[in-house]
Symmetry: C2
């Protein structure tokens, strides 16, 4: 029997065995949503980098640099961390080096031991589920959180992913967040208005980013880390895929 | 405006400011439920001790020693960690030194900085809420968890406490667990059957302990740590107490 567990903060990652597993890194507001959107809109690849200055050094003719700290674009960077930036396709074909407050750190932590790293978002939830169903590894959802603390929107994604997979498991955090998703699913935006990071983004007038990041299944691609860069592929679909009735979140 | 926040694991306690605050330590299965039950049934005081051997050294004519590791009574100890042990009143007037896998460690961590430490359980939820309403400090609920990981029953208590207090707050973990409690409140036992630690206890045939620990408001006392020992006092009730209608969990 395959398992799924949720690591609700990067500070707890040492308590989870990642070796041999697929780790789905999630930072809903906004790093992982932005990564999925950029790649789905033609960006060639994304190099996630934890350190701001290391990322800045990529600036030049071959790379665009995207940097965010505490919800705002970092000084001197070409781009910030808004998924909406990429919708026009203006950055199609470009290579992006990217650093964010929490998301790129979580990817870096997962790299040490995971056999495979995916980037999760509500925008490509079903595609990720389809890919995971066709795979054979156990799964850890690694929530980026906010500066080490529990973050409701990232953990909520873990609950949504687990409910959509429909597997039995023995992970308390996953069990809790399935219940939260069941409670909130009919109006994620309304429920998450009270979330701490949504409030931070509202203070920066980023409500449109929040609504966009909560859209379910806009994109059909799966985002993988390969040789240090993120790329998108169509979800692989085979006989292990559940019927539409079995996938309660299919839209 | 007073605040409440939830620390979902002792491993994250360094991210929470405890200075000047009331910390409610909770280990539903079973340390904090057992402490409340023992004191409500006449035990004179309880000395919580993290280290097994340090606790063992208290054995003698003046102290009984209670010890649990991994859900089972520790070898050579007078008592284990079952609240049911104390219901007969056979230990009334006795002093108890107690060590458990997760709960006594959480108390020890809180002691470093908190202004006041309470012990939380569903058994005395309303009494604790009444006491907190009559106090003026901010609150941190410190969940004992399971060996550092998120533990659903402890965090669920945080959600129940916060819902009963009825305060506005900006804590994502509290917000999530309020939603879980709303989802599960009509049948806590059924919901928690799937929890990892409940399964551990079921394996030791401790189903009666589980049901007992989930009983709401059996006792009217509040459990405080004073000079290194736990004692019980009646809840202080004053004009700040909500009306029965305002306390949605009053039974």
């Amino acid at each position: 029997m395959r398992t799924i567990e949720t690591c609700i903060s990067p500070e707890l990652v040492h308590l989870h065995e990642l070796t041999g597993k697929t780790v789905v890194v999630v930072d809903i507001f906004r790093a992982s949503s932005t990564m999925v959107t950029a790649l789905a809109n033609g960006v060639k690849c994304i190099k996630p980098i934890s350190d701001l200055e290391e990322c800045r050094a990529y600036k030049g003719e071959h790379w665009l640099i995207a940097g965010e700290r505490n919800g705002q674009q970092a000084e001197g960077f070409d781009l910030g961390n808004s998924p909406l930036t990429f919708l026009s396709g203006a950055f199609a074909g470009k290579k992006l080096a990217m650093t964010t407050t929490n998301g790129t750190r979580a990817i870096s932590l997962a790299k040490a031991n995971a056999s495979e790293i995916l980037i999760g978002s509500f925008l490509n939830l079903q595609a990720t589920v389809d890919y995971l169903l066709a795979s054979d590894r156990d799964i850890v959802v690694l929530c980026a959180g906010w500066k080490g603390k529990f973050n409701i929107e990232d953990s909520l994604y873990a609950g949504a992913l687990s409910l959509t997979l429909g597997w039995k498991h023995e992970c308390d955090a996953t069990l809790a967040m399935e219940a939260v998703f069941q409670h909130a699913r009919d109006n994620l935006s309304l429920f998450l208005e009270k979330a701490s990071h949504a409030k931070r983004l509202q203070n920066h007038h980023l409500e449109k980013d929040i609504d966009f990041c909560l859209e379910l299944n806009r994109y059909n691609g799966v985002v993988h880390l390969e040789n240090g860069v993120l790329k998108i592929k169509p979800a692989s679909v085979n006989e292990k895929r559940l019927s539409p009735e079995g996938n309660s979140l299919r839209t």
